[in-house]
């Protein structure tokens, strides 16, 4: 039978050869016929003429033959599909269930794939992206190894390497844009002027930066993104040459980026401006601030490039021992740098989605086999009436493929809405990588993936049906007992695997729930309730001196503390749980300055008086800052417990002095405060020192409030106060501390994974439940006679119930056990997103065990009830 199809296919593909064969064959026929007629005395001419005439119409013969070999397959196929549609119309309930199952399974996978494809699978949208690397300086002897480059180092790499075409540097920044209605914050990136040419991108409109614009005094130009251009200029070409006031400084727009350009896949960037390093940034080798991207020369391998730059770093270690001792270089492929941390998260989500898809397929196979019981008689009769097994199989396959195709089409809508819902549920600011999720759209590749899944689903389910069919004979159909047991075994196997997959998914979901719970229980080092923060930044043009900045904030703090409803208010340069960047090297006054490479690195923060009281950060020793710790007074500093322990061990540091290495400034320690998590709840506490905001002010600051007041009320009250002091200043990023915690990468990533895995596992559990319910229902129906006899012989209801339940629970627990084993085995896979738990944590296993058993119990409840309600008389009379 397969040979037949192959033969037909061969005709189709080798049509031209077949045509030639036919031609030759007919020619032979005519020749022989002519010969025959010549043998009985005709002239050759006459013989050939009559032979041709008798043969009849040659083209018609060709045509009929062609029909015989080619069209047969198509007409058969067409009939199969017509029949499939008719069958589907005849049982719409089953068809709807099938299509929905497939649509949900395939749709979710398509959605996840679209994001995965955009970020992880596809190369970066730059020219020859495999030659691009991100560069970090590393301290070979410290745990906080990775850091930005200093500008002088960057310049030396550029000069001394032999393997790179060029380097570009960048540094993210924010500006206040004025002149377009209310002042707004925009996100910009300061770049070296060769950035676009390194990436291999051309502005869509206008020009690239010129090399001389990199200097601070020439850097008043900007290349804006396509989105910014559309938003603020409606896509008008005359935007080029217009002036933007950024932080009070006029910048001229010289170019517009292409619509699909995202700076390192960060969709939030509004514009690029030239780097314009300050003299400090330009000259200090100990100031690490520049992020660097390099482009290898063609043919250079990553290892060669890394070795080359390491060599340069070694030269610098010798030449600039003071700053560069113990400093080396690490290369990270640019693609990995950008999507690396997303990759593990996406893999987990993808894995969960794939698990759910398998469940969907199995559930469907289960349904098909169940459906088969109903159709078996029909099939057997049709078989007996002469429809070949192959033909029936083909019809079944056609049915499954039609449903899979419909499911596939519906799933595109599901995928579309999944992406939309994910974006709507989770605020855009939640994680950096989210712009990549927004990038996940449904294009040709994703559609191909979708179609492949649908086809796979159709083939799998059709295959299962055909497997059943080939085992079937009329004799079996009549022998109900033999038939059912084989069928039940197959369905039981499907169901156990379904339960196993659902259990695996549930383990992941429960692990994620507990991870997030545990993470949220981590003490951040301050009291989070009723804390609110908002951001503010003073432009250097209006507030050139530190004195201006500190007096502005001092006055502002006084004003906002008096807002009704505010218990306390304070100012800090960087809010906890946002970043642990901004470090200095310190050592104890009176001790030798540590040798290069052995410094104590500490995060430095600038806090106003009342900051620790407002945040609820405990004071361990000494005092905190007061209004008298101003620029005229003695320079004072607070240490966190970790830094105090590092520098002084068990001795009391209060009254001692520390030196900040880069400018040799001395600071007296007036107190020790509790440890605070600066970057993320899942990161370790770093040594931290605090300077007084009145002595060492920061232009960019966060206002913090302890208040029960409503956020909107507070924001407008604060805005009013700020406007009274400086009408051009925007107040932005107003949010509660709870929101800030929710936005940390540690929490946000896990929550995103939790939502998605949670959704997939719920659907998966539902499908497993349906599978179990269906199986138990037919088991009970099949055993009704036996149950009837048992009950007629005096079996208790409870006994009967236990009998059925035992069978269901045996399958459930087999599946549960297998699922847990799979989950534990794949523990490494989800390691990157869990926190404080593993799949083998007892509380996780217990929770999953209870959930799965509960689902199984619910799924079996109706069938079991039906069994015990069996009236023996009715059952035994039946048949």
């Amino acid at each position: 039978m397969i040979g037949k199809i192959l033969r037909q296919l061969r005709y189709m593909f080798k049509r031209r050869r077949s045509e030639r064969d036919l031609e030759r064959e007919i020619q032979f026929h005519i020749d022989m016929e002519t010969q025959d007629r010549m043998d009985v005395g005709m002239s050759e001419q006459e013989a050939r003429r009559t032979a041709l005439a008798d043969f009849g119409s040659m083209p018609q013969c060709h045509e009929t033959v062609r029909e015989a070999w080619g069209m047969r397959l198509w007409t058969d196929l067409r009939r199969d599909f017509q029949y499939a549609f008719r069958m589907i119309r005849r049982k719409p309930g089953f068809a709807v269930l099938t299509v929905l199952t497939l649509a949900v399974g395939i749709g979710a996978n398509t959605a996840v794939f679209s994001v995965f494809d955009r970020t992880v699978l596809r190369p970066l949208p730059y020219s020859e992206p495999e030659r691009l690397v991100h560069l970090w300086e590393i301290r070979t002897n410290q745990e906080f190894g990775q850091m930005e480059a200093s500008y002088p180092d960057f310049v030396d790499w550029k000069k001394r390497n032999h393997t790179f075409e060029d380097f570009a540097g960048y540094d993210g920044t924010n500006f206040t844009l004025t002149g377009f209605g209310a002042p707004v914050r925009i996100s910009a990136v300061r770049v070296t002027t060769n950035m676009l040419s390194i990436l291999g991108v051309q502005p869509q409109l206008g020009r690239d930066f010129s090399a001389d614009e990199e200097a601070l005094d020439k850097s008043r130009v900007a290349i804006v993104t396509y989105a910014f251009w559309q938003r603020h200029f409606g896509g008008r070409a005359d935007a080029i040459g217009q002036t933007l006031r950024l932080g009070g400084v006029p910048h001229t727009i010289v170019g517009v980026l292409p619509p699909d350009f995202q700076f390192l896949l960060d969709g939030a960037t509004d514009m690029l401006v030239p780097l314009g390093p300050t003299p400090d940034q330009l000259e200090r080798r100990s100031l690490h601030w520049l992020r660097a991207i390099g482009r290898f020369r063609p043919g250079v391998k990553a290892a060669e490039g890394e070795a080359d730059l390491r060599g340069v770093a070694q030269q610098l270690e010798v030449e600039y021992a003071q700053t560069n001792k113990g400093t080396s270089i690490r290369l990270v492929p640019l693609h990995e740098q950008i999507v690396g941390n997303m990759k593990s998260m996406l893999l987990v989500v993808f894995g969960a989605a794939a698990c759910m898809l398998c469940l969907a397929f199995l559930n469907l196979a289960n349904l098909v086999v169940a459906q088969f019981t109903v159709r078996e008689r029909e099939m057997a009769i049709r078989n007996a009436l002469g429809a070949g097994t192959m033909r029936l199989g083909r019809q079944l396959m056609a049915e499954c493929l039609v449903m899979a195709a419909i499911g596939g089409i519906v799933s595109i809508a599901v995928a579309h809405w999944t992406l939309r819902i994910v974006l709507a549920v989770i605020p855009r600011t939640l994680i950096n990588g989210l712009s990549a999720i927004a990038a996940g759209n449904i294009d040709g590749r994703v559609l191909a993936f979708n179609a492949a899944l649908a086809l796979l689903g159709g083939l799998f389910v059709g295959g299962v049906a055909i497997l059943r069919l080939s085992r079937m004979s009329l004799k079996d159909v009549m022998n109900a007992g033999a038939r059912s047991s084989a069928q039940q075994r197959l369905r039981a196997a499907f169901t156990v695997v379904e339960v196993a997959l659902a259990a695996t998914l549930l383990v992941c979901a429960v692990v994620m729930v507990q991870s997030v719970q545990r993470l949220m229980k981590v003490n951040p080092g301050f009291t989070a309730s009723r804390l609110t923060s908002m951001h503010l930044s003073l432009p250097a043009t209006q507030y050139p001196k530190g004195q201006d900045v500190s007096s502005f904030y001092k006055e502002l703090q006084r004003r906002i503390s008096e807002i009704p409803g505010v218990e306390r208010a304070a100012v800090i340069d960087e809010l906890p749980l946002t970043t642990d960047g901004g470090t200095v090297d310190v050592f104890v006054y009176g001790q030798m300055q540590p040798r290069p490479g052995e410094e104590h690195e500490s995060v430095a923060r600038s806090a106003s008086p009342d900051y620790f009281e407002t945040m609820g950060i405990p004071v361990v020793r000494g005092r905190t800052f007061t209004a008298s710790d101003t620029s005229g007074a003695k320079r004072v500093v607070l240490l966190n417990e970790t830094l105090a322990r590092t520098l002084f061990g068990r001795t009391d540091p209060v009254g001692q002095r520390v030196v900040i290495a880069f400018n040799k400034s001395e600071w007296e320690i007036v107190g020790v405060v509790g440890d605070v998590r600066l970057a993320d709840l899942d990161r370790e506490v770093r040594p931290t020192l605090y300077t007084s905001g009145l002595q060492d002010p920061s232009r960019s600051s966060t206002l913090v409030f302890r208040t029960a007041a409503d956020l909107d009320y507070l924001t407008s009250a604060v805005r009013a106060e700020v406007q009274r002091m400086d009408p051009e200043l925007p107040v932005y990023a107003a949010r509660s501390i709870e929101d800030t915690i929710g936005m940390t990468a540690g929490v946000a990533t896990r929550k995103l994974v939790l939502y998605l895995v949670g959704a997939f596992s719920s659907i998966g559990a539902l499908m497993a439940g349906i599978g179990l319910y269906g199986l138990m229902s037919s088991l009970v129906a099949q055993r009704s006679k036996e149950i009837g006899i048992r009950m007629a012989l005096g079996a208790e209801r409870g006994n009967v119930r236990r009998l059925i339940l035992r069978q269901a629970m045996a399958m459930t627990w087999a599946g549960l056990f297998a699922g847990i084993v799979i989950a534990i085995a794949s523990g490494r896979f989800i390691q990157s997103v869990v926190f404080g738990v593993t799949p083998s944590t007892p509380s996780v296993l217990l929770t999953v065990g209870v959930i799965v058993s509960a689902i199984a119990y619910v799924a079996c409840y109706v069938p079991v009830r039906r069994a015990t309600r069996t009236d023996p008389i009715v059952v035994l009379r039946h048949d």
Binding site: L22, F28, H29, G56, A68
Partner: protein, 115 residues
């Protein structure tokens, strides 16, 4: 003897029969198209003439159905010809069809005799 047109009609009527005749002819041994047509004519004592225009489509249909199999061979005269032979399915099919035909023709005979 019926005239040519009538014979054509007859041939069309008995389309399904042509398959059976071809299979029967090949039961003896493998033959090329021309040989089949000649053999049918001889075996039916010139009563049945196969219309060439329907012979080749029938051959290809039977081949596509896997009942016969065509191979290019060289004839004793040194010419290349496509020779057909029965496959195993073809042989089985021939037997079934043969039985059916006997049944059918006997039935028709009975009916005709009955009138």
């Amino acid at each position: 003897m019926p005239d040519k047109t009538a014979r054509r009609e007859q041939a069309a009527l008995l389309q399904g029969m042509l398959d059976l005749l071809i299979l029967r002819t090949l039961d003896v041994g493998s033959l090329h198209g021309w040989g089949i047509s000649k053999s049918i004519r001889q075996m039916s004592h010139d009563v049945l003439t196969v219309n060439q225009g329907s012979l080749y489509p029938a051959l290809y249909r039977l081949e596509a159905a896997g009942l016969i199999e065509g191979k290019w061979k060289t004839t004793p005269e040194g010419r290349d010809a496509k020779c057909y032979s029965l496959t195993r399915t073809g042989r089985k099919h021939l037997k079934d069809e043969n039985d059916y035909w006997l049944l059918f023709s006997r039935a028709v005979n009975d009916v005709l005799k009955g009138t």
